[in-house]
């Protein structure tokens, strides 16, 4: 008897693929041939990352009824569309609280916690990769340690920022976040030196392997985070630190900060340090590399991490945190960022 495991996530990456429904199963066809059948019951997510694919309305309907989002990624990993049910969002109370929080202290508090989580995770990620070098490469270890110290100083400055409205303190918080970010990427550069040529962090349109990996990985993470926020009844478009702009999922970008390092950066840096070949085709990651990265990120999301005294899968932690945002905004409980171990 072969494997009993069905994938909870389906990637559609071949031109001309067709997604349909048969009985209560998702059917993936390529050139008219069935290549995959997955019961909807076991499905969590569908990611379409190719052009020229088609999908039946029956399939969309079934997915929506079961709360399975369908995300579309461009070849660079940038999500350009998601199909989600319009009815999952029921909670008006949460949404009202979310919009109102923008104007008062709750918003400031929220953002500070997100960024605090991010900085702690940056520190922990650096520590995680540096700990094995402590004896092997003392000089490198010390250099990374000094970067860590500087990020911690920045984190301290962040704590002292106070304000009544996010608009008053946005500049200060962004400056702290930016400085920490620069330091962090310097640290990552030190830790990957000799393995890959990392020109520094670039956001969109990067053509070097490291940035492409990161961007592609974040693309996958955005989809996950967005789903969790929607399931928690929040509006992914109304963020705090990231200003409102039509079509921009500001809350996704705010919330994703504390998960970038533990989910994506850890995987990418590990891939590079292990010397796994990163193939590029015309300034983009090759399909094989993309698949490989997606697989590793999925594995990472499936690993259990300590959180609130228990072990949960990272995926579950993201969902729990999204719910926590909702309760925090409604003033029922305090949000605490997720901090990964090292």
């Amino acid at each position: 008897m072969s494997s009993l495991e069905h994938p909870s996530e389906v990637f559609v990456s071949n031109y001309g693929s067709f997604l349909g429904k048969k009985s209560e199963r998702l059917v993936l066809k390529e050139n008219g041939q069935t290549v995959l059948e997955v019961p909807f019951y076991e499905l969590q997510n569908i990611i379409i990352e190719t052009s020229g694919a088609s999908i039946s309305t029956d399939c969309i309907k079934e997915c929506m009824q079961r709360g399975i989002p369908i995300s579309f990624l461009s070849s660079t990993g940038k999500p350009y569309a998601t199909i989600v049910s319009p009815h999952l969002t029921g909670t008006v109370v949460t949404r009202r609280a979310q919009y109102e929080a923008f104007k008062d202290k709750r918003g400031v508090q929220m953002v500070k916690l997100f960024v605090e989580g991010k900085l702690k995770n940056q520190v922990n990620t650096l520590k995680y990769f540096a700990k094995y070098r402590k004896s092997a490469d003392k000089e490198l270890f010390n250099n990374v340690q000094s970067v860590i110290d500087k990020i911690e100083t920045t984190a301290q400055e962040l704590k002292e920022i106070t304000g009544n409205c996010i608009n008053d303190v946005r500049g200060q918080i962004m400056s702290a976040e930016g400085r920490a970010g620069n330091l962090y990427w310097q640290g990552i550069k030190l830790l990957t030196a000799g393995k890959i040529d990392f020109p520094g962090r670039e956001h969109a349109g990067a053509a070097d392997p490291m940035n492409s990996l990161l961007n592609y990985g974040y693309g996958i993470l955005y989809g996950k985070v967005e789903k969790c926020l929607i399931l928690a009844g929040l509006d992914p478009y109304a963020g705090f630190l990231h200003v409102d702009r039509s079509g921009k999922e500001s809350l996704v970008y705010d919330f994703v900060e504390e998960f970038r390092q533990p989910v994506v950066d850890r995987v990418v840096v590990a891939m590079i340090n292990k010397g796994i070949p990163i193939e590029m085709e015309d300034g983009q990651l090759s399909q094989k590399t993309r698949r490989d990265l997606a697989e590793r990120i999925k594995e990472r999301l499936d690993t259990a991490e300590r959180f609130q005294g228990k072990k949960y899968r990272l995926q579950t932690i993201i969902q729990m945190q999204a719910r926590r945002i909702a309760t925090h905004l409604r003033g029922e409980a305090r949000y605490k960022p997720y901090v990964s171990g090292w």
């Binding site: 008897m1 048969k22 009985s23 199963r25 059948e37 019961p39 019951y41």
Partner: protein, 88 residues
Amino acid sequence: MKTFVIYDIEEDRIRNKILETCRDYGLEHVQYSTFFGELNHNRREELKLRLKKTLGRKNGKILVFPICDKDLKLLENICNFPELPPDA
């Protein structure tokens, strides 16, 4: 818990429905009229009800039995077919 579903059904239409249902529950076709896979208690109960309803008053027999990992280890696979059976 790991579960086997084994059936003998006269009518083709009903048999096909049973087969489709087993697949919908993520079970694997191990040989003609035999499915196997992981089902929790609730899913198994649900499957039982559906199979019962599908069979209705037609002639046939369906066995749904959970098996523990300890006993499953004693499973012997004696097989001369190079591949699993085609879709029955």
